[in-house]
């Protein structure tokens, strides 16, 4: 028995991983660094959502930037409106775009609670409608991936275009941190870091429980062969839409956290490169492993921040080449590498059995 597949060992690994992350503020006193680590937590959430959608559901989603960006814009609008008062009722950039009163689109964001709820509900609803439309028509595999990409690029152009409402390419920069009641969330404090980590923990545990549940089994069966699951009487479109929407909700939460941490949002959040890099994180870390995807995000973003300065010009070249190698030789990513090493250790004589499992990943008719 490969210890990698032991559920108790998996939970232990999760506990160790999150304890390590939670103890980080004890060793790191630099508040700028802590803020950066917290944004890595946001990226971890995104990688987790991709792993859920693509790794477990078999739905390659190149448009995860849509729920992320919509959530981020909702949160930014909420935070912006918190800084406006009676003497100064509308955000400054609207004055520059010759608006003299608050547009209807911004009206609900006057109330912080309603604004945050909208920031989470709108992207989730979008995913449910878009996913429902696509999956009911049995658009799947590469076609779905391309449609998410097209949708993403449509949102990107739209957000850029309605400059009076979104400040176009400059984006929204709320001048002060988020206030929850009377409490202001300082983005550079350990509290902000722990909050993001707690959300990541809840998302990870929820996703893990989901994959272990009956629902998760059916979703993984859909990934294996959607046609057979359909013949067994399950509503494939329903399962696909649900898992896609849950992934979208996690991305929306990540978008909200991102704006709280950076106090900035721009159309770059809808950029195709950003959404594709989420897929790279999950692909390199291991799309079939939730924690692998999170670690992939940490590794790639960390390397980009620290090695990126040294290899400024060649970073994309290195990343692209590395990604090609992973896709070609390690379709399960680094987590797959760990899996096969642990497999060799636990049963040195029967390494064949593991090879079969790895081989079965290759021709999947559902993909």
């Amino acid at each position: 028995m490969n210890i990698y597949h032991n559920v108790k060992a998996q939970w232990l690994a999760y506990a160790a991983f999150f304890l390590l992350l939670a103890s980080l503020p004890i060793f790191v006193s630099d508040s700028f660094l802590l803020n950066q680590f917290a944004t890595y937590g946001v990226f971890g959430m995104l990688a987790l959502s991709i792993s859920l959608c693509w790794g477990f559901g078999g739905i390659l989603n190149l448009g995860q930037g849509i729920p992320f960006g919509l959530g981020a814009y909702g949160m930014a609008m909420t935070m912006q409106m918190q800084t406006q008062d009676a003497s100064n009722p509308i955000p400054p950039f609207m004055l520059n775009n010759s608006l003299d009163h608050l547009p209807l689109l911004w009206e609900p964001f006057r109330h912080a609670a309603l604004g945050i709820v909208l920031a989470l509900v709108v992207p989730t609803l979008f995913c449910a409608i878009f996913g429902g439309l696509m999956f009911r028509a049995r658009v799947s595999g590469p076609f779905f991936a391309i449609m998410t990409l097209a949708m993403l690029s449509a949102w990107f152009t739209l957000i850029l275009d309605i400059q009076p409402y979104t400040n176009g390419a400059n984006g929204i920069t709320p001048p002060s941190p988020l206030k929850l009641g009377d409490y202001a969330v300082d983005p550079y404090s350990p509290v902000a870091y722990w909050s993001v980590l707690a959300l990541l923990l809840v998302a990870t545990v929820g996703a893990k429980l989901m994959t272990l549940s009956r629902f998760g089994l059916v979703v993984q069966a859909v990934r294996g062969d959607a046609e057979r699951v359909r013949f067994l009487g399950y509503s494939v479109a329903g399962y696909e839409t649900t898992v896609y929407t849950i992934a979208g909700f996690i991305a929306a939460v990540a978008g909200c956290c991102w704006v709280v941490l950076t106090q900035y949002v721009s159309p770059a959040q809808f950029d195709t490169t950003f959404s594709l890099s989420m897929v790279i994180w999950a692909g390199i870390g291991g799309r079939l492993s939730l924690i692998g995807a999170i670690i992939g995000a940490f590794l790639i973003q960390g390397a980009q921040s620290y090695l990126g300065d040294t290899f400024l010009n060649t970073w994309l070249l290195v990343l692209g080449a590395f990604f090609i190698l992973v896709v070609r030789f390690l379709p399960k990513g680094l987590a797959g590498l760990v899996e096969s090493i642990l497999g060799r250790l636990s049963m040195p004589s029967k390494s064949n059995g593991n090879d079969v499992a790895a081989h079965r990943l290759y021709p999947q008719p559902g993909e």
Partner: protein
Amino acid sequence: MALGSFFGSFDLSAFFNALILGVSIASIWLIAALGLTIIYGTAGVINMAHGEFIMLGAYSSYMLQNYFGLPFLLCVPAAFIIVAAVGLVLERGLIRYLYKRPLDTLLATFGVSLVLMQGVRLIFGSDPKYLAVPPIFTSNFQLGFVNISAFRVVVLAITIALVAALWALFYRTRFGVQVRAVMQDKEMAASFGINSDRIYMLTFAIGAGLAGLAGSLFGVLNIVLPTMGAGYVVQAFLVVVVGGGTLAGSVVAGGATGELQSIFAYFTNDTFARFVLYVLIVVFLRVRPQGLFAPSATRR
């Protein structure tokens, strides 16, 4: 906006101009999608590096023009050959191991696109380059009240010629028969002695070459930048998806989407038109997920 003012602003000659411009947009999207159609239709490979092949075509024309002094009209076929060679190397080195994993071809070719984009940026820098064309191409036609630049007419003519040539290649030659046989049933074709590996290799190279040819034309319409490919690849994909992956489908889909884009842009503006068009395509796929003209035979 009141209905009266809506019709009041309607100007017939401007609308006619928009229709003509739509034909031009359609030809540009179609020529960008031709290579993708062939690669997807034959081998089922989703080539995310297609935009970068277009970019390579533009840069190879720029290189030939500025360092070897080749006239522009010779740069166009030269770009075809150079990018076809790049595609051939890529197919032999990477893609052929991934034919059974269509989603992974998408990811691997995205990695390739990153490498190509950054590689070109390292060699040529990120400042814009320009392609020079013979002066007769830079003039404007005035036909009645319709005004259109001569080069757009050239692009349209080349697109029509390419579609005709591809049709002849696929439906009138021995090679075309082999390609269609492999498309319908790879194993059956192989048992009749067709080397399907070779067919995949050649179609991938031809598809890449077509992207290069398109790139050498786009380099004139727009500035040449390492990132220029990204602007074309989404439209090209949509043409293929709407068309269903066949040549006839892509021609009709390219024409329809280009024309619709131009008409919507006439009533609103360019970016909003694109948003409406994309939403319409989502709705269209809900009704007809297999595209306009999907191949009727079973695929693998």
